[in-house]
């Protein structure tokens, strides 16, 4: 089917879209909130595996601990912790917004950075505490 000159598609100027904006903090945190939510979704498989192993046998439990305690496992667990902290603080941010406060441009940007900073601080504290408790 041929287009008449009036309807022929050609390059028209488009309004700026996602790819041309410098990412505002709120956009970054919105995307990270969704990504960490998705990661935590599949992370439940690790929790289920660990629990099933604990309910099955000492060998199964030791294998799970060995895998989770390897350096790859530890990287995943640190990432898991960070995802959980970020998603939790992001959730608190949403609960604050639900009350109708904190939606101003400056405040929401500060809240977004606070969520990111808080998640990193909490993750460091949790793992420092874990090492300090002498695992």
């Amino acid at each position: 089917m041929s287009h008449s000159p009036a309807t022929r598609p050609h390059a028209r100027p488009l309004s700026p879209h996602l790819t041309v904006y410098r990412w505002p903090a709120t956009m970054l945190m919105s995307i990270l909130h969704r990504i960490t939510g998705g990661a935590l979704y599949f992370g439940t498989l690790l929790v289920a595996w660990w629990l099933i192993a604990a309910a099955t046998s000492e060998n199964a439990f030791n294998l799970a601990n060995q895998v989770l305690g390897s350096w790859v496992g530890l990287i995943v667990l640190v990432g898991y912790t960070w995802a959980m902290m970020l998603h939790m603080l992001g959730g608190v941010r949403h609960l604050i917004w639900d009350t109708g406060t904190g939606l101003e441009k400056d405040t929401s940007t500060q809240l977004a950075w606070a969520t990111l900073a808080g998640s990193i601080v909490l993750t460091v504290l949790i793992w420092a505490g874990y090492l300090w408790l002498g695992a």
């Binding site: 969704r34 939510g37 998705g38 935590l40 979704y41 439940t44 498989l45 929790v47 289920a48 629990l51 099933i52 604990a54 309910a55 000492e58 439990f61 030791n62 305690g69 959980m84 939790m88 959730g91 608190v92 949403h94 609960l95 639900d98 949790i126 505490g129 874990y130 408790l133 695992a135």
Partner: protein
């Protein structure tokens, strides 16, 4: 047939998506419940990090831990099922793929929940 319900009663709580704010409310409700539960369990996991098979099982068999862990898992799975539903509805536009993924989402949550809670109960009831 005559219907005794008033028009207002029929639409109360129903938006065009047929479930009004139910989904929104439930995701908020579960998120609030998960804050204390996840912090409590995080503390517990830190305390049993590196513990032996017997120690972990003994800890999991304590009523408070078994209850908190079960609640955490069930509420987490409900929360994440709701969240993943939004992600699927946002990005998957083909009707067949969407319905299939929405079903798999529920199956996944129920399967992970059943396996996890069964394991906790088995340990708690001394199996």
């Amino acid at each position: 047939m005559s219907d005794m319900r008033t028009p207002l009663n029929k639409v109360r709580g129903l938006g065009s998506a047929k479930d009004g704010t139910g989904h929104f409310w439930r995701i908020r409700l579960t998120s609030i419940a998960l804050i204390p539960l996840s912090l409590f369990l995080l503390g517990w996991i830190l305390s049993v990090g590196g513990a032996s098979y017997g120690e972990v099982r003994a800890a999991l068999a304590q009523p408070l831990i078994a209850l908190a862990a079960s609640l955490f898992i069930l509420i987490s799975l409900d929360h994440m099922r709701l969240g993943m539903q939004i992600i699927i509805e946002d990005y998957i536009h083909g009707e067949g793929a969407k319905v299939t993924l929405l079903m798999l989402n529920i199956f996944f949550a129920v399967a992970v929940g059943a396996a996890s809670v069964f394991s906790i109960l088995k340990i708690a009831f001394g199996g």
